[in-house]
Symmetry: C2
């Protein structure tokens, strides 16, 4: 039984940790960790995003990074707390180049989890609050330019007279959030997007789409949604927000612009990127190329025999708009995840005859339940009342190494299964194949592992359960005929429309398309943890592959994920880019081998 206060316990550990680091003694530092222990570093020691597991791995990382990092000034940020055997505390610290935030969990006097993250670079602090810009320079100056004239000149020159340091391909939530971070850090950046207007990536989706994550989870950096914003944002309203945000944050955003090709110029150490801007070819020369094309960007369509014979319409879910034209007609939706459910419901609402084709089991969780059991602790009005700001919630999420998160989520889903037992039973009775992930760790982990395989139920499950949406599960497609889909159990479904709600390929497919297959293979698969579960082959990586961190291709970066990830990781990525622009030393530790190319 620990009799000292949580703060004293944390303080004592931190003092010893600080001493070991100051003494350049990786072994001594590692000895302060438990046999099961994790150090999650986000750019502060490793200039990488890595989780070190166990003392040896921690000692190895320190041996490789301590000299350059020179960490110091460790102190607790607020009082520590204790729950059961775990004492936890927020930290702040400095490195040679930056200021960091951290978090520690102690068990039996030793560290169980440590998280360290770079928060800002010294001398390059963001201009916010007290440091915000003046806006207008008081005093008088002959021939000065107004804000409007400055902005117009910047927009006219960028990409022509002056080159952006960063080119962000893809202007959805990810590209926009990153560009806002870069703007704040005064890194010249340009976002290009193929749609006519910012926000169109959302507007162009199926008409009934709304965000399945609640508002508290979805804020963009700097400008949070107002408190009258709806819980679940309709897609077109989200489009309007992103468009306004792009304008208000003064981002340089070329809409109606396609990236045609990109080539790394080894000699110049920069990219040569050919883009088509509303019909005009422009060659850009950025130092850094960021693919923010969306982890759900590259549609994957199965190749069914006879697809060319089918006389109805075939669309990938990303192209589906509305069931309006299918009133009374036969529709087959291949897939059983979020988009499949939403599209089936939309077709049903338009009185189409719709069949869902479930090929493998799906994780379903009711939206209400997820709000209570999942997000609510960190992202809700209740969390806000408990003082958990968006920033604090993001950091709290970041303090969970993925192995720890996996274990922590299992009881949550066991409880959900109990609580909604009747709901799940009705789905099973209808033949729906359910799972909670191969190891029962639930939605968040499935999302991290494969970015797919789940449905957050906002109503369609009842249609499945009561047969309004016809379900065919555990079957696959043998072939398509002129007006039907033939299944491997020999049955045949009449079809006027086939929707492929079959997901997306790895983001390095974009590198293959834009740059070369060679570069795509060198970089390897994006996303996934190496969990050894379906669509996430091992070995264990412990962090998402290639996301928000250096890749094996100089100057090439991947940014994406949901709004929470875009918000949080955009800062870490922006700091890495800023450091490179300013010529700071950024020795990357722990670049692992590439195990999978897609």
């Amino acid at each position: 039984m620990n009799t000292s206060t949580p703060t004293a316990t944390a303080q004592e550990w931190l003092g010893r940790f600080d001493a070991a680091l100051s003494g350049s003694d990786p072994a001594a530092a590692a000895a302060l960790f438990g046999a099961e222990s994790y150090w999650r570093d986000l750019v502060s020691f490793t200039w990488n995003i890595r989780t070190m597991e166990g003392r040896d791995s921690i000692a190895a990382m320190l041996a490789g990074t301590l000299a350059a990092t020179r960490p110091s000034s460790w102190r607790l940020d607020g009082e520590a707390t204790r729950a059961g055997e775990v004492t936890e505390a927020w930290l702040v610290f400095e490195t040679a180049l930056g200021r960091g935030r951290g978090h520690v969990r102690l068990k039996d006097g030793r560290c169980w989890t440590l998280t360290t993250m770079l928060a800002e670079l010294k001398g390059f602090e963001e201009r916010r609050g007290e440091k915000r810009p003046r806006g207008v320079e008081h005093g008088v100056r002959r021939n000065r330019r107004s804000w409007l004239e400055e902005r117009a000149a910047e927009q006219a020159e960028l990409g022509h007279v002056r080159q952006p340091y960063c080119l962000v391909v893809g202007g959805g939530q990810g590209g926009i959030a990153l560009a806002a971070r870069l703007k704040q850090l005064e890194v010249p950046a340009l976002v290009i997007d193929s749609h006519p207007r910012a926000g169109d990536a959302w507007r162009a989706r199926y008409r009934s789409l709304c965000l399945h994550d609640p508002v508290w989870y979805d804020h963009l950096p700097y400008l949070p949604f107002p408190d009258n914003w709806p819980v679940f944002t309709p897609k077109d309203k989200m489009g309007d927000w992103l468009e306004a945000y792009t304008k208000l944050m003064e981002l340089n955003y070329w809409s109606s612009t396609e990236c045609r090709s990109a080539r790394w110029d080894e000699a110049a150490q920069e990219w040569s990127v050919a883009v088509d801007r509303a019909g005009e070819t422009v060659v850009l020369r950025p130092k850094q190329l960021i693919l923010a094309t969306g982890m759900s960007g590259m549609p994957e369509v199965p190749k069914f025999p006879g697809a060319e014979r089918f006389l109805g319409e075939q669309v990938h879910s990303s192209e589906y708009r509305s069931g309006e034209a299918y009133r009374g007609r036969h529709c087959v939706v291949v897939g059983s995840n979020n988009s499949a459910h939403d599209i089936c419901a939309d077709l049903w609402e338009h009185e189409a005859k719709v069949t869902m084709l479930q090929r493998s089991s799906t994780l379903v969780v009711r939206s209400e339940t997820l709000m209570d059991a999942g997000w609510g602790r960190l992202f809700s009005e209740d969390a806000l009342r408990r003082g958990i700001t968006t920033e604090r919630a993001d950091m709290t999420l970041a303090t969970m190494p993925f192995r720890v998160m996996t274990e922590a989520q299992k009881p949550v889903y066991a409880e959900i299964a109990r609580k909604d037992a009747g709901f799940y039973e009705r789905l099973r009775q209808a033949g729906f194949m359910l799972d909670f992930g191969e190891d029962g760790s639930g939605l968040s982990l499935k999302y991290m592992r494969r970015g797919s395989g789940y449905y957050i139920d906002v109503g369609a499950s009842e249609l499945v359960a009561d047969g309004s949406i016809a379900l065919r599960s555990g079957v696959n497609v043998t072939e398509l005929r002129a007006r039907s889909v033939v299944l491997d159990d020999g049955s045949e479904l009449p079809a006027d429309l086939i929707v492929y709600a079959t997901g997306y390929g790895s983001m390095n497919g974009w590198a293959a398309k834009i740059i070369s297959q060679e570069v795509a293979d060198r970089v390897g698969k994006c996303w996934g943890l190496g969990s050894g579960t379906a669509k996430d082959p091992g070995p264990w990586e412990g962090e998402l592959r290639n996301m928000w961190k250096p890749t094996h291709q100089p100057g090439l970066w991947f940014h994406g994920g949901n709004l929470q990830q875009s918000r949080f990781y955009s800062l870490l990525l922006a700091l890495q880019l800023k450091a490179r622009m300013e010529g700071l030393e950024t020795p990357v530790w722990g670049m692992g081998p590439v195990h999978h190319t897609s």
Copy 2:
């Protein structure tokens, strides 16, 4: 010496006050006020905006309002504080129809100032935070409309199939803030504005314009500026913000729409308003007509003899855009307030030969000084650190009856005069006529009294002091000739351009223009306190005339002022309109006679 705690002191007074009100005893309640005392009521007792001065006035108000108001549930909101002889506390209370907030200052156990304001109507609470809308209705419904379709239908129908309850004429900051409040209260409203885009009222002004008030003072309701927003917003950036805000708040806003005429239909108890919407005439039938055309909306241009002979250009300051065309040419700016200074500086920056013509003395205060001595206490990063949110700051400002504010401001300006003595001396040496208001009460009071007569120095004063802007003060114009301005001291100024920075008329001029002179006269002068100083003739009114409260014309309201006023008073005005729409009893107390028609 008071030995009880401030909270106990306040609590005791409040208990007795509550008892007197509950006992329907105006005399007993009034006896709890000091000989010098003020009760400022904002819509909660009076359905009006009134300051009662002294016990008799307070007793009279209570006698007229207590029965309908039925105030109850008075309690302190947080701990009371004491400074010198004054104990002060924040309050909450209820009325028959609403919930209120209040503030009290006690001296010697008696009330010195009391402020009561309506915060919300019971049963019509704003949908914010926990009460925010869901956004999408979960579940499935055949033929439901998406958010986009709902919005499109609303916009297509409003003004045609369905009539707005409120028509807001003028879509600047005032009209937009009010419309946002009305939207939150689910009052169907339409804003019309003559410019092509929302925000153009700012964009269309002279190129160098920026907000002279700092960012902390300028937030709109619901969606505050982000913390990277500049301190002084350039006009075009402000235009972009207002345009985005209008869209994001889902306001119904008709741009390129002019109000041609409005007529009160006594029988139908509604307005008939003819508007020209991009060439098409539409007749609207709102129940309430709100003129938000700006307290600086109706340009006032002096009629100088010979004006028709002048061969150069003559513009009112509101039409001035840029000095670009006047490089090396002679310009005369008539006036010596904000616009006059800004325009003189812009002309000088464009190397024009510019003369400022000062006809009467001006209050000048350096922007830096004003930030420290004036706004900083309530509106600054420092204030935020001290826990003074924008809402708290607004309410604090509201707790100062204008007589009290007048006295409180005098020492502030005495200190400013001392601090910037050198600055003022240089201006005097250049011949500039200075004042701090007739009674030394400074800028805020001058603004409340006449909305003019001052310059917040952001640089032009140095140009006046060093002669870069030629100054002619204490003179007036006798006549204009073909290429010159003749002054009453006999001198003659060559002129290619004359800018009339001569201010604006009373807002009821808009009523005369749109409705009729009869209605404008019935309503009387807007703005001003009746202070008996220049441009604000007595008798003393104690509150701004006709602003944000009922007028002598049924269904006619005036809204305007700076961003702080638009933000704060828009709620009070919106609550009055909402109450009327819902058919609540809104007996107005204290409609005074009209003393001035313009």
